[in-house]
Subunit: 675 residues, 2 copies
């Protein structure tokens, strides 16, 4: 390990001084960062709790992430299991409970690199689908990690289309058992987390057969590995699916079942049961389970997905005021790269997007709570709307966050590409979010299907769910902006987004109707419209996010300074969306070409405005250096020193290269006599 301290320019990253270029950015903040942090946390009390948790986690060497970027898949897995078991212990010691406020801050501090996430889904599925007896039997064991479970739904050949799952569970009256089988290779369970190397148990989804009749998908609980020596149970073939683009710490697995017999009690039976004589009994509605699944999907957005965009912005923006490259003015020193308009164009709309998505949380919670109350009263009316909202939001948020992390990575040039920047792991994790918990194109089309129904309701005068109520409002003709300043009025741009969403949906629906009327089959007509239906669903979601940002800014009326900067961010988010999708807005003629030039001018002006507060705006996210785990993004801005220090720790610098001794040394000997 090289140690060089000549001329004193090589500072330890432990020192407290801050890079002067970064420090200068903080001196000119137009608002109180601490106050904005409290707002983002949902109150200063939360900020205090969060920081207290972070202090506990970060001061504990058992939770160190120091060597994470150097670890193999196997080491990552081992560390995740160790930390998860240890966290359980520490939480118990600290008096932090599973439903307390601290747990989410633990995840945040640990950057999500824990095992047993799907074990939680295993537990939630038992809580939702199990009888009271089943819950009483399994949950206490699972809660203490005395068993580890997985949720085995997806198969090698089946993901999105659940009805197509091929695993079978055949009830045998004579033995009172179900026999589970994997009838073909495509029916092998594939991808479930915690399955590959950890799980002792699994909730397995299989087609239920009784007396030769198929009753569709049901959930069964079964043991897959010995509690004594962890060997696979007889008839069980189980293993790890191998390397992935990321999530090395998770043991995604495969599972094949050969004539596995389990007792009748092991079908999760809150909503449907098989009686001893083979009678199938359906009981109540399992729609509340549907709600639970929707909420799980949405929680991932705010606990994992959106924070990753916030982190990527923090890293890229801090780096962009430390990095200097080329000259703006021939006589000046090299310029901070954030002073280049093209760099602002890459990063600042993302910063605005990060805020836009963060602020959606309150809206979605409100929606969920309303739905939950109604559904408890057996009123399922709001379920389609909630499903449409969360499907579309999941898709648009994961799409934007993934694309955003990539932009941040590339905006940091070569150093962004180093694993030590933290950006490759953020990007590669986010990329998965576009597929897991619902593939995004499929989700957009589900939102589109809801919207098409709403539009039909508008035309036939039926009531419309609130979320789509805007479809029935009167068309306002043309955009009312006369100057570029008019495009800083939320009413103006909100109306433009509304118009775009309405028009794209209307066009797709008209095409759909036309195809059907000219004799196409319904499903074929639908397929021929899907490219345009996806566009319509995206425009709808975009509009929802813009509207919510506007509403959030309005609520900040008692925080003048913060309201001002939040308004700028909201304007930037909205105008960037128009600037990046000019065709959508121009096509209908709602925005004229002259108006589009005003949008461009206003948008580019906003970049320069936000640029001045860019660092304080990412500081307000208040990520610890340990949580960012980035050589480029740390609070003190000592980018080059940290890159160099961290690189020296790489195993490639610790190991003697076998390649040298085996292949190169003999060759180099030949040069000795000549040089």
């Amino acid at each position: 390990m090289a140690q060089w301290n000549r001329s004193g320019y090589f500072r330890s990253s432990g020192s407290r001084d801050v890079n002067p270029d970064l420090e200068a950015e903080r001196q000119t903040a137009s608002f109180s960062v601490e106050r904005l942090t409290a707002i983002l946390d949902g109150g200063a009390d939360n900020t205090r709790t969060r920081r207290a948790v972070e202090a506990v986690i970060h001061s504990d060497p058992g939770f160190s992430r120091e060597n994470q970027y150097f670890q193999s898949q196997n080491e990552r897995y081992e560390a995740a299991v160790r930390k998860s078991v240890y966290l359980k212990e520490r939480m118990h010691q600290m008096g932090w409970t599973e439903d307390g406020p601290e747990i989410k801050y633990c995840f945040r501090a640990l950057g999500g690199d824990l095992a047993f996430n799907v074990h939680r889904v295993f537990m939630n599925s038992i809580l939702a689908l199990g009888t009271d007896e089943q819950i009483a039997k399994w949950i206490p064991l699972a809660d203490k990690y005395h068993i580890i479970g997985t949720y085995a739904q997806t198969e090698l050949g089946h993901g999105t289309f659940l009805r197509g799952l091929e695993t079978t569970a055949i009830f045998d009256i004579s033995t009172q058992e179900f026999t589970l089988n994997t009838p073909k290779i495509s029916a092998m369970k594939w991808w479930p987390g915690d399955l590959g190397r950890s799980a002792t148990h699994a909730v397995v989804f299989a087609q239920l057969y009784i007396k030769g009749k198929c009753y569709g998908l049901h959930a069964f609980i079964l043991q897959i590995r010995s509690l004594r020596d962890h060997s696979p149970a007889p008839g069980v073939i189980v293993g790890d699916i191998g390397p992935k683009m990321n999530f090395e710490h998770i043991d995604n697995g495969y599972l094949m079942l050969q004539n596995i017999n389990i007792p009748r009690e092991n079908m999760l039976s809150r909503f449907s049961q098989v009686l001893p004589d083979g009678t199938y009994v359906k009981r109540g509605s399992d729609k509340i389970n549907y709600l639970t699944m929707i909420v799980t999907r949405v929680q991932i957005l705010w606990t994992e997905v959106i924070p990753m965009l916030l982190k990527a912005c923090t890293i890229a923006i801090r780096y962009s005021v430390v990095r200097r490259q080329s000259k703006l003015n021939p006589g000046d020193p090299e310029a901070k790269i954030l002073d280049y308009q093209t760099q602002q164009q890459k990063l600042l709309p993302l910063l605005a997007t990060a805020y836009a998505f963060h602020f959606m949380n309150a809206y979605v919670n409100e929606f969920y709570n309303k739905g939950y109350t109604e559904i408890k009263q057996e009123n399922f009316d709001s379920l389609p709307e909630l499903h449409a909202l969360t499907s579309g939001l999941k898709a648009i948020i994961t799409d934007y966050c993934t694309a955003g992390a990539e932009v941040c990575l590339r905006a940091c040039g070569g150093h962004g590409y180093s694993a030590l920047s933290g950006l490759p792991s953020l990007y590669t994790k986010l990329a998965a979010s576009c597929t897991y918990e619902g593939e995004n194109t499929v989700l957009f089309l589900q939102t589109a299907r809801f919207l098409v129904k709403c539009l039909a309701a508008v035309h036939s005068g039926q009531p419309i769910p609130p979320l789509a109520a805007y479809l029935s409002s009167v068309d306002s003709g043309k955009c009312q902006a006369w100057t570029k300043m008019d495009f800083l009025k939320p009413d103006i741009y909100a109306e433009a987004y509304r118009h775009r969403a309405t028009r794209l949906l209307g066009n797709a629906a008209t095409k759909l109707q036309g195809l059907v009327q000219s004799g196409a089959e319904q499903h074929e007509a639908w397929n021929q419209c899907t490219v345009q239906l996806v566009q319509a669903a995206k425009a709808h979601c975009h509009y929802i996010v813009v509207k919510n940002f506007i509403a959030t800014v309005e609520k900040l009326r008692n925080e003048a300074e913060i309201q001002k900067i939040a308004k700028h961010l909201c304007d930037l988010f909205a105008l960037h969306g128009i600037f990046s999708n000019t065709g959508d807005f121009l096509h209908a003629g709602y925005i004229s070409r002259d108006q589009m030039d005003m949008v461009t001018a206003s948008y580019l002006n906003l970049l320069a405005v936000i640029r001045n507060d860019a660092v304080p705006l990412v500081d307000a996210f208040d990520f610890t250096d340990e949580s960012l785990n980035s050589a480029l993004g740390s609070y003190d801005g000592h980018v080059y020193q940290r890159l160099y220090e961290w690189a020296q720790k790489s195993p490639t610098n610790q190991q003697v290269s076998q390649a040298y001794a085996s292949y190169l040394k003999p060759l180099f000997q030949s040069a000795l006599s000549k040089l």
Copy 2:
């Protein structure tokens, strides 16, 4: 390792039968795949040579890529060095020379996973910048790998802006030596390949100082590691920069120099020399070196970048006809996912793009050969044009290929995210290409600068380089399309692209001029226009690619079937570009809204047309399974079997989990008594 053969559905991937869904796609090809392959290879002779080379490489276990996805960074590096040394041996045995046709096919067969790429740049820099004596001394050693060199230009704090490099080389008349130093941490050489663990020598770029005066950047050759034991030379601090998003097989390194003295003869002196008395002599023009660098940049496109998009398309399209999911028609079996319009919209424009970029090669070569001839005659007139062409093409091609690989990855759902699909490594390698050999935004702006100059020449009646001649042609008013069929006429869409490129450049230039006229400094005005200048440069490059595709199709007039499908691909590429950038085309009013609806209709129709030949069109790329190295993309389409077989080989299934023994076993014991 699980071995299960029950009911015979588990086939070895070595078998010759092809998945019937994939086979069916090949039966209906509208053209001869073999003929198209020959055209893509530049003649059937080349195809034969390529296949012969591939046969040699793939039959040799020394070149196996079988376990590549399971290897650590260190193992990847060791394997790359081993293969590189071995390839040199084998080429010698086979009688293949460094300038023969076989070498590029070796790289193709090996998927680029070789070491010593920068060693080649080291050699090229000596060949270009060295005197005949220097070449005679170093090249024979380097050619035999008796020394390994690196090209140390980029520094920790300096990439794009070469003038900002900080390494110093001070000439001392008394000793007749240069003393090289790394004066600050930001001056450390950082990123050079082959430096971290392999190189014995380096060409180092440093600011030359003689008697206190700086003469700018010059190249120096120095030894950095012992030829005897590979230890760093005194005063040299050298190591590996650690993990990256990909390129684990390359030892990108860092290098610090402390008072390294080298003899006067070690400055590369073809174009400039320091005489013993300290006199600095400039000799001839080094512009030919500039040409060499341009060509290196461009070669990467056709040997590495574009082939990766071709591979990604091959994988994703083959998988999309094997994978079935959901139902198009309620009564049917599940549909091939390539039959969904949204999947076609993701993949088929990429396929057209792959062809469009592949066909650019001939154009660029022609341009280069013309330039090379002129420059040899000391005529440098075409250099700015060549620079503008290659800068813009490098940027647009790497941007599109990177985005395309990501689309392919996501279009394969969860399985695309598995490393075994081959797609994560294609994507993460491509992502680097957007930064190395010139950061794309910087390159687009260089093209834009050229175009702005051309436009000024148009306005002042001066001659214009051929590439930009279109800027002076008369504006044709409005698009002349009357029906959607008109948009299948190359003249119609080429003209639309021309109009768009002209307008975007004109607008940016007008804004620039306006800012300067209203008193802004030139550089500040430029900065304020860069977002729009980048748009203009992209539109220019897009137009060049469309024009070249049209010309290529025309040349296929003796190949009726192939011309027909190539024409469809060309139409698709062009119309997809309009469909994806509607705003650019609508804004000027050149294409009306009604015409844009025709574009959409024609574009969507084309998807269905290309879909029928999608598999033959990727088969024509003729990648071997070994070169694709993808569980999803192999020729036989046995996707699920291969995923399962390969997963079993993962080290995560070979190692006993330490985590179980250490952390989980004690917990599971507690459950034993209860279950």
